[in-house]
């Protein structure tokens, strides 16, 4: 039996136990089997300044809280499994790189070179790809095999370095400064 199946089974058992506990508690409270102050056989009463009198049936409250926990936790855990994709992007300054996980189209945007990490839902039998987009278009992509965690090969945006470009200045720097353009 795989881990995922065992986990689902346990969560199901937990939820069923929670429902049972809640139902049983309601029934017992309804039948006045649990309440209650030992001595007086009545609910314990508290008096608060603003709220006023509050009757507590502590054992019943514990049972309800326990039942709720057993029900809520499996529901919370029953969402899709997630997987974290990590990698590193190297790009020239000023280049924006969007890393997109397909097919879910989850996206993270990098404005500087460095590591990235994003968590995406795990869809069974889906073919995941990590796409690198620069200038709004796909510059490169890698297919990834989805496990609990994915580490993609570092990616280098193969753009030419800005320092190697000779600027073309049909308008001089001085003229631009005079116009207030910096």
């Amino acid at each position: 039996m795989t881990f995922a199946v065992t986990r689902s089974l346990l969560l199901g058992v937990s939820a069923a136990a929670g429902f049972f506990l809640l139902a049983a508690t309601m029934l017992l409270v309804g039948m006045r089997r649990i309440y209650i102050d030992k001595e007086t056989k009545k609910p314990i009463e508290f008096e608060f300044p603003i709220i006023g009198k509050v009757k507590s049936q502590t054992p019943a409250l514990f049972l309800i809280a326990g039942g709720m926990l057993l029900v809520v936790y499996p529901i919370q855990q029953s969402g899709p499994d997630q997987v974290t994709i990590q990698g590193t992007v190297t790009a020239p300054p000023g280049v924006r790189v969007d890393v997109v996980a397909v097919p879910q189209q989850f996206q993270t945007t990098l404005y500087t070179s460095g590591p990235f990490s994003m968590t995406v839902p795990l869809i069974p039998n889906a073919n995941y790809r990590v796409q690198y987009q620069a200038g709004g278009v796909i510059a490169d992509q890698q297919g990834v095999l989805v496990k609990d965690q994915i580490l993609v090969t570092p990616w280098n945006y193969g753009a030419p370095p800005a320092d190697s470009i000779t600027p073309v200045k049909e308008v001089s720097d001085a003229e631009l400064q005079k116009l207030g353009i910096h």
């Binding site: 000023g94 030419p160 631009l176």
Partner: protein, 110 residues
């Protein structure tokens, strides 16, 4: 009174049409480096005032994978166009855009 209102409405429509026509100019083009498209370069268009003493408005866009860019719905006038790449200014030039017309630039960098 009714005629007066109609007349005002027609005038407003005419003014809107004139303004819309004036905002219909276009600066576009292609940026290449050694003949290859230069993606992700930032193109700024600065509209100059009538006396060309200062700029009054600025538009910005980036080149796509093909090195192409387009700044649409511009008012007609004289523009300074700068292109930045990797934090460095690689081009600065002038462009004149008549009303409703397009200025197409080809910038080949070395």
């Amino acid at each position: 009174m009714r005629n007066c209102k109609s007349w005002a409405f027609i005038n407003l429509l005419a003014l809107a049409a004139i303004l819309a026509w004036g905002q219909n100019a276009f600066i576009g083009g292609k940026v290449t480096l050694h003949g290859q498209p230069l993606a992700s370069a930032t193109v700024n268009a600065y509209l100059l005032d009538r006396g060309q003493t200062k700029y009054t408005s600025q538009w910005s866009t980036t080149t796509d994978r093909q090195g192409e860019f387009a700044v649409r719905s511009l008012p007609n006038g004289n523009y300074i166009v700068t292109i930045r790449y990797g934090g460095k200014v690689v081009y600065q030039g002038k462009a004149q855009v008549p009303s409703g017309q397009a200025e197409t630039m080809k910038v080949d960098l070395k």
